[in-house]
Symmetry: C2
Subunit: 217 residues, 2 copies
DNA sequence: CGGGGGCTTGAGGCCACTCAACGATAGTGG
DNA sequence: CCACTATCGTTGAGTGGCCTCAAGCCCCCG
């Protein structure tokens, strides 16, 4: 993303603003809020290290996490004046930020940057569309299977990874309760589809990706 | 949407390609497919009359409708080579269509058109984000209330309207069954929050928008 | 060693689903 | 005009998957 802003020495999927663009590095501690829903959307963020959750709340506190943002991901990019999610660091996190107005001014002249904005937004839309199918029509086991495949894809693609988020975050992402997530993981463990590493319940090995894919589809 | 393509004599919210852009009118009968998921996305569509549903299917037939498209709405605009939804006419429907490539060529030169593409995509993203909250965290009654408010907003804003879609479509949009939708509507009727017009179960009057809003929020 | 957070596990309940029957309406053809 | 059919919607009875509530485990950390 933002490949058009990147130099050649940087992996395209991470990207990097060229020297002429002002960007700041910033750090957030675990559970620290980065921005709140309906706050002015003055900055666009990119995770350089760590993980971020963005979510909406209902008045009684029910929470829906719309997306997790991992290293390289852009977030907080709005086409409106205000943020539509609250964003919080899941673990200690470093971000880069650019003034939204700066980006927009560049986009008006540079077609490549404009196209990047569109690509980024379209990618988020595709994710949301897939997630609607999950939330509306998949069973608890299918949701968890889909989630594990997504995390494997985004974290390592290696079949094992350490989840940065806790069970409650996963549950609020998948439209479930944390107990149901826990039970689904145990079931996948019992079936030999996944395993937990080294007594740590967040370190997961995918043992049978084929069966997991069957469940997640 | 696509205001930058419109002439002054056309309402901005509907828009119209200027004379130099080739666009075709097309008609689809009730339940006719307009395009299928994973088909090449060569055209972008705009509803001029009628209504369209776009949905995804799971292998066993479970369906999630991602959006309804009403008069004036753009759909089928993808940033990828293929469509990510199947689109079908809900009732007899007229659409206008433009070659996607044409639009992209123009967007590369005309910043206003490029911005329109971004705005349209961003609006769809916002809708999807709100809908994830609904699908993940709202009760059946809250979903139906939200749906009615959305339809009132988009159809007439007058407090009464005729739904183009049947109960099954509504259910597949809200992640429910058609029976649950029916029961929720009856409950809202019994509570005096809405009424049905003239023996037609699709013609609805909102009698107490305040209580409906309380439920839908 | 006590405390707390994260996670698991069990028991019971409830909301939405499933299955089934029925009613209303529109269209079709005799 | 009246069957006849198909579609759509409603309603009821019963089930079940996920939620709620609660207890307990494990690990980390003071």
């Amino acid at each position: 993303m933002f490949a058009s802003l990147g130099g050649d020495r940087v992996p395209a999927e991470i990207g990097m603003p060229p020297p002429r663009i002002n960007f700041s590095e910033f750090r957030y501690e675990k559970d620290e809020q980065i921005f709140g829903e309906n706050e002015p959307a003055d900055y666009v963020y990119q995770v350089t290290f760590g993980a971020v959750r963005s979510y909406k709340l209902l008045v009684d506190g029910r929470r829906q996490i719309g997306a997790f943002h991992l290293a390289g991901d852009i977030f907080g990019l709005e086409n409106a004046a205000v943020h539509r999610f609250t964003a919080e660091a899941i673990v200690d996190t470093k971000v880069r930020l650019v003034k939204r107005q700066t980006l927009e001014l560049i986009a008006e002249k540079d077609v490549l940057v404009a196209r990047d904005l569109l690509n980024t937004t379209a990618a988020k839309l595709e994710h949301a569309e897939d997630h609607m199918l999950l939330l509306g029509r998949k069973t608890a086991l299918e949701r968890v299977a889909t989630f594990l495949l997504e995390m494997d894809e985004r974290l390592t693609r290696a079949g094992f990874f350490a989840l940065p988020m806790n069970r409650r975050d996963i549950a609020d992402y998948l439209g479930l309760t944390l107990e149901t997530v826990s039970r689904a993981l145990r079931q996948l463990d019992e079936r030999g589809i996944l395993g937990f590493l080294s007594c740590n319940q967040r370190q997961i090995v995918l043992l049978d990706r084929k069966r997991l894919t069957n469940l997640g589809a």
